[in-house]
Amino acid sequence: MISYQNLQSVRWRRKPIWMPTAKSKLYRIPVKPVIPEEEKEEIKRLYNNYRTYIKSIRRFLTYKHSVLLMAKSDTEQLKKAFDEDFMRCKEINDKWNEDLKKLREERVAKQLQEEIEFAKNRMANLIKQKEQKLAEAEEIVRKEKQMVGTFITPENLDEVIEKALSNPVDYNFAIDLEGNRIIGRETKPEEQVSVKQ
């Protein structure tokens, strides 16, 4: 923001550009300066020299005073610096990776060994269990085989019935106050009754 309080518009000593040529100067034809050929050449040479000097001074000052600009514009240098830096970092990183690789391989091998051990143990346990089960089954079979002789077959059916009829079994029983079991429906606990009286 500019304060316009004391503003004084610029009045350079000239009439405004949009005004027409003054009436008195309307038909005036300015005389072209006549410069000899040699003079012209000399002036041109001098001007060329001057421009070259100024250009070189300007360029020199620009480069001298903007180090940042110089560094940025120099892509070759930047690329070289980057490559150098990258190689340095890569070297450190490669070493780190190499070390880690060794450690990891060691660790993985150890883990594998542990897992193999675990699997082996498990397998052994399973086999043991299976064997135990088999042994149990064999035991059952052996017992059954022993019992085969007492089975009732059509051949000895009559005989067995006969035997069963001749030996009746009485499963009834009673319990007295002291917890004694008195087997048989008809049995009478005579002694105990007498004790109670």
Binding site: M1, I2, S3, N6, L7, Q8, S9, V10, L68, F82, D85, F86, C89, K90, I92, N93, W96, N97, L100, K101, L103, R104, R107
Partner: protein, 168 residues
């Protein structure tokens, strides 16, 4: 304090974010972390992501940070450079601090670069400066200063024409 919810909300405080020490190199554009969630050798990587990734993102807002979970046999970090180079960093079975220190050494800006940057930033940041690349081109843009004589003529007492005028 409001919004202090979730696991370790300190990670979202400005003080914590600004305390990060890893400023990635200018050329790094993508920073990818690959790790697993459950194995013991991934513990450091997991903690690194939990604690340090917010700081890194805060310090490097122009870098894309990606995490890939449960897609790799062993954890690693990969940095992609602008120039097409890439840096592969193994972080297997390392603690979060070891990883952080290594990253600062390998992909972080060096101390000299950081110092130079802070100096140039300070130079540019100073509001008193004017000229090319500063906040303003000319001191005349400040209210109360004298306008440029190219726009408004200088006050009479500053112009030689009037200063050295001989009284006739």
């Amino acid at each position: 304090m409001p919004f202090m919810i979730g696991p370790a909300p300190i990670r979202r405080t400005l003080k914590f974010l600004e305390a990060g020490r890893l400023a990635l190199k200018e050329q790094i554009k993508i920073f990818a972390v690959h790790y697993n969630l459950h194995d013991d050798n991934n513990k450091g990587a997991k903690e690194f992501v939990f604690w340090y990734l917010p700081q890194i993102q805060y310090k490097n807002p122009d870098v894309q940070i990606a995490t890939f979970k449960n897609l790799t046999p062993s954890p690693f970090i990969r940095c992609f450079y602008e120039s097409g180079h890439e840096m592969l960093i193994d972080i297997d079975n390392k603690s979060k601090d070891e990883i952080y220190e290594h990253l600062i050494r390998v992909v972080g800006k060096t101390k000299e670069v950081l110092e130079a940057e802070s100096i140039s930033k300070e130079k540019k940041d100073n509001p008193a400066n004017f000229g090319v690349g500063c906040d303003r081109h000319c001191i005349c843009e400040i209210p109360g200063q004298i306008p440029c004589p190219g726009v408004v003529p200088l006050p009479m007492h500053m112009r030689g024409k009037y200063k050295y005028k001989k009284d006739v």
